[in-house]
């Protein structure tokens, strides 16, 4: 029974048609900055280096700005139009990749009263996916970088990547410090 469950679990993994989806976030900040005194911010226009129509458009920029704005407000910061303590901007790039996927045949072992069988594998097949890199930068009033969040995400298509990016921005900014560390 355990062997059969193991085999079925292997089959589940091998028949998955989705590429390996990965997401990786990293945050760095200036430890010498007292973030507790930096309570206001302004958004600067982001940079997008993508040819995908689902990403390179004003509505996507608006969605990203709204996500960044909303998350910073949750952190207790206030958006101002003049003399902000912090200036926030984002940049995004993406690239399309192709890998080769092979599925080996899976042997379902014999069980008492039941003969085992072999689930045939599949030959080399292409696996297309897109990797996007989102960078959110926060500068102080002097123009010095005080905080950077980077999120690298792999999705099977451009629309899925576009849909996930505003959530990724929120995840990054949830780690924005609000007091001196």
């Amino acid at each position: 029974m355990k062997a059969r469950l193991r085999s079925l679990a292997l089959l589940l993994a091998s028949l998955a048609a989705t590429p390996v989806l990965a997401a990786d976030g990293a945050v760095t900040f200036d430890a010498g900055t007292d973030f507790s005194h930096l309570r206001t911010f302004a958004l600067r226009e982001g940079t997008i280096q993508s040819a995908k129509p689902e990403i390179d458009n004003r509505l996507f920029r608006q969605r990203m700005d709204d996500a960044i704005r909303d998350q910073l407000r949750r952190k207790g910061l206030e958006e101002v139009s003049t003399d902000p303590a912090l200036v926030v901007t984002f940049s995004f790039t993406d690239a399309d990749y192709s890998q080769v996927q092979r599925t080996p045949p899976t042997r379902i072992p014999d069980a008492p009263g039941q003969r085992g069988f072999v689930v045939p594998g599949s030959g080399p097949q292409p696996l297309l996916f897109t990797e996007g890199t989102l960078v959110i930068d926060v500068f102080d009033a002097r123009g010095e970088l005080v905080w950077r969040g980077t999120w690298r995400n792999t999705e099977r298509s451009g629309p899925k990547l576009s849909a996930s990016l505003s959530g990724n921005a929120r995840k990054l900014l949830s780690k924005f410090p609000t007091r001196r560390r």
Binding site: A16, A17, E54, R63, V100, G123, P126, L128, P159
Partner: protein, 197 residues
């Protein structure tokens, strides 16, 4: 019927086979769904869509140079699907003085899959990668096309893009994309904010 009975063994065997087959079938269906097309819709979050009542259909463009998809019949059928979906959302089509201008376009990228499983993008239907000899398809290896349908809505008064839907799908045959264009349009336009009458 006790577990040791011959009839039980036979029926229990068939039950187990059917249960396993059902599980495998469910798994394959899930895998197929996972491999289906994806779409995303973005709209202007600062615009009051209740004030938008009318639209006009303008651009329809197919940038795939294949006769089974780039023809007036497919363009007309897809445009009709876009029109029907917007009318179903409560908008009204007018010839002049509309609030929205609606355009749609289809672009595509074909791939050639070589014997090692690598997907090589074709340019103008020909494999032009630097490390492969220039050759056409000889009917052996599989190939597929990724089609991208984009529907744009622009507010005429401001000239700004206020709604965009993008659908990407990979199909073995380009004709498969052509057949499904109305369904893609309908699915995306179902996310347009409905106008209450």
């Amino acid at each position: 019927m006790r577990p040791g009975d011959l009839r039980c063994r036979r029926e229990c065997y068939y039950f187990k086979q059917m249960r396993g087959a059902t599980f495998l079938l469910a798994l394959l269906l899930w895998a197929a769904a996972a491999a289906a097309g994806d779409y995303v819709v973005d709209l202007d979050r600062h615009l009051d869509f209740k004030a938008i009542r009318t639209f006009t259909l303008r651009g329809a463009h197919i940038a795939i140079d294949r006769p089974e998809i780039n023809n007036p019949l497919i363009i007309e059928r897809t445009t009709a699907a876009v029109r029907a979906a917007l009318l179903a959302r409560g908008l009204q089509e007018v010839a002049e003085g509309a609030d929205l201008r609606v355009d749609w376009s289809l672009r595509g990228q074909s791939f050639f899959v070589n014997e090692w499983g690598h997907a090589i993008p074709l340019i103008d239907g020909v494999n032009r990668t630097p490390f492969q000899p220039r050759r056409g398809r000889r009917g052996g290896p599989d190939s597929f096309t990724e089609g991208t349908l984009v529907i744009d809505m622009t507010q005429i008064s401001s000239g700004l893009l206020v709604w965009r839907g993008v659908h990407r799908e990979r199909q073995r045959e380009v004709a498969g994309i052509a057949d499904k264009l109305p369904a893609y349009a309908k699915k995306m336009l179902a996310r347009y904010p409905a106008v209450k009458k």
